[in-house]
Symmetry: C2
Subunit: 345 residues, 2 copies
């Protein structure tokens, strides 16, 4: 296949929150699939907050690092257009990490630790859910609530960034297990959306009475906390933990823009005091640890009508820089943020 | 009994590290034992770092709070001089929290959650060990290593403030369980003392090459960390943790002088990044959770010659303010810091 395609490259490393001007949309030749390679056309691109970790000038140990002028990396769902590999045939839908571009070539036998593109069954669910509920974010919500927090009936659990894909799913899973679920989100619209999804209560971290809202939502205190943010939200949650509380540390969007050190004061003493005062247990985890069982569970629960996965879709790669930046400046949408790049054939 | 006694009162709330001038030695009447009460003469006073938490002007939720002009609180071993309570007879040795004074009256039936004075068997061990290895610090070391860290053969574990009572005991318990034990302490003398106690390696946090010392002591990284300090020591240890490491948070002497917030920069992001990068599990705990079984174990291990409990003893209450202050300014002694207040009869 010949011709040109659209791609989004990194124009400047982010300082603090990413801005649209940190990215540049450009034309590039459609790449050619060589021996053992497959050519993919991007259908969906997920603008996950975690991408931010690759945008610091100094590489963070363990994280992907983005080069200036190179196409942005990112999780995608694509269709196989040409295949020189026996495991993939033209027309297959795959989930991978091909980045912010309309076409990409992948060598499945030379994959990193995350493995080759995963073939997605379009009969199971809309294919873009492979980037959300039926993919890594779903595994993350499942693993955090079930394996890490061991959520159970009678627990009261709070979730930060609860209107996001992971948070909204985590909250619904906790409710299915009989817990009282308190979602934390920014603004009344998002809080209302959480209640519509079946959350027992919602607390608006942008409201002046956020602390009182949390107190009202969990008058006896919190047994568990599913943290996607860190920062001021978490420091407030610390004041509402019961003795013996558990905390699953899933993400820290408040700190994606800083390195190992943020501007002062030092809040690490607050964490120590909280842990010592409550006997808090904190555990970090990664979604891929949950394995395919998590995805099977979520697919079944969705079929049974127990789960909903809200999506916020923007159209075309041109919209990606602004949409991605809005994640860090307090956007107003709920659920998974997706770019619809093209239609399948 | 009539007459006067010596006591140490708080003269000023501490700003940062306590100083000897924050305390005042004064004379007071020996208190009288009323109905249901016992009169105790103090034999030993423990100058535990945790006392610092009571010396802030603003009371910390959950902690004891010291009033200006009142006798300092603190753990003691005492002898019963007069008894108006059926459970105690004259001559008994008890462990309690009667503070920095030569005599005290206690109403055993009106104790707080920590219970009435505990009668100590002088045949078991020197009575002052009831404040250390055979008391709460011993329970803390036992609980942290065994219940929280679940230490096992093949583990490499680091311990901060390893030359202290809890740290030195924790390290010896870890060795008994087959772990490789790395003690962290300030200065070559303390490090040498750790090696004499059987630690596999010691790292001097005051040395310019502290990081390299830790790397040499645990070239493959750390499976577990028993933290008594927080602060810069812990931030360095974070760089040496293996994936899936466990951390028992036992104390945080680096933060006793600050409230919920220390001077910047904010190191909470470092904790989040460490937890997410390593899957670190952090758990806070309190020694009293370990129960009497821990003390029985330690007494038995000591009899079998498997444990030593170093002590540093200063003589008389007059010495307490300076000795206590030295805990926070980097003293040079090893093990339990005790004031010998008087001899038993």
């Amino acid at each position: 296949m010949t011709g040109t395609m659209k791609q989004v490259v990194l124009a400047a490393y982010a300082k603090g929150n990413p801005r649209p001007s940190d990215f540049r949309v450009e034309e590039a030749p459609i790449p050619q699939a060589g021996e053992g390679e497959i050519l993919l056309r991007t259908l969906w691109l997920a603008l996950d907050p975690l991408i931010r970790l690759a945008l610091d000038e100094t590489r963070i140990s363990g994280a992907t690092h983005q080069q200036i002028g190179e196409p942005m990396f990112g999780p995608t769902v694509s269709q196989v257009i040409e295949s020189n590999h026996p495991d993939y045939k033209v027309g297959d839908i795959v989930e991978g990490r091909t980045g912010w571009r309309e076409y990409a070539v992948v060598a499945p036998d030379q994959s990193d630790y995350r493995g080759p593109p995963r073939i997605v069954d379009p009969a199971l669910a809309p294919v873009q859910t492979a980037l959300g509920a039926l993919g890594m974010p779903g595994q993350t919500a499942h693993s955090g609530m079930i394996d890490i927090l061991k959520i159970k009936a009678g627990d009261t659990v709070a979730i930060s960034a609860a209107a996001g894909m992971v948070g909204s799913l985590a909250g619904q899973i906790a409710r299915m297990h009989g817990a009282r679920v308190v979602g934390i989100a920014g603004g009344p619209d998002k809080c209302q959306a959480l209640l519509s999804m079946g959350f027992d209560a919602a607390a608006d971290y942008k409201a002046a009475d956020f602390s009182a809202q949390l107190k009202a939502a969990a008058p006896e205190g919190l047994d568990a906390y599913f943290d996607n943010t860190g920062g001021d939200v978490t420091l407030e949650v610390f004041k509402h933990l019961k003795r013996g509380a558990r905390m699953a540390m899933c993400g820290y969007i408040a700190y994606y823009g800083v390195g190992m050190e943020g501007p002062g004061p030092d809040h690490l003493p607050a964490l120590y005091r909280t842990i010592m005062a409550t006997g808090l247990e904190i555990k970090g985890f990664a979604g891929f640890m949950a394995g395919p069982k998590a995805i099977e569970d979520i697919a079944r629960w969705a079929k049974e009508g127990k789960l909903t996965f809200p999506e916020h879709v923007v159209e075309g790669l041109d919209a990606a820089p602004e949409a991605f930046s809005s994640v860090f400046s307090g956007n107003s949408f709920v659920g998974k943020l997706l770019v619809k790049v093209s239609e399948p054939t």
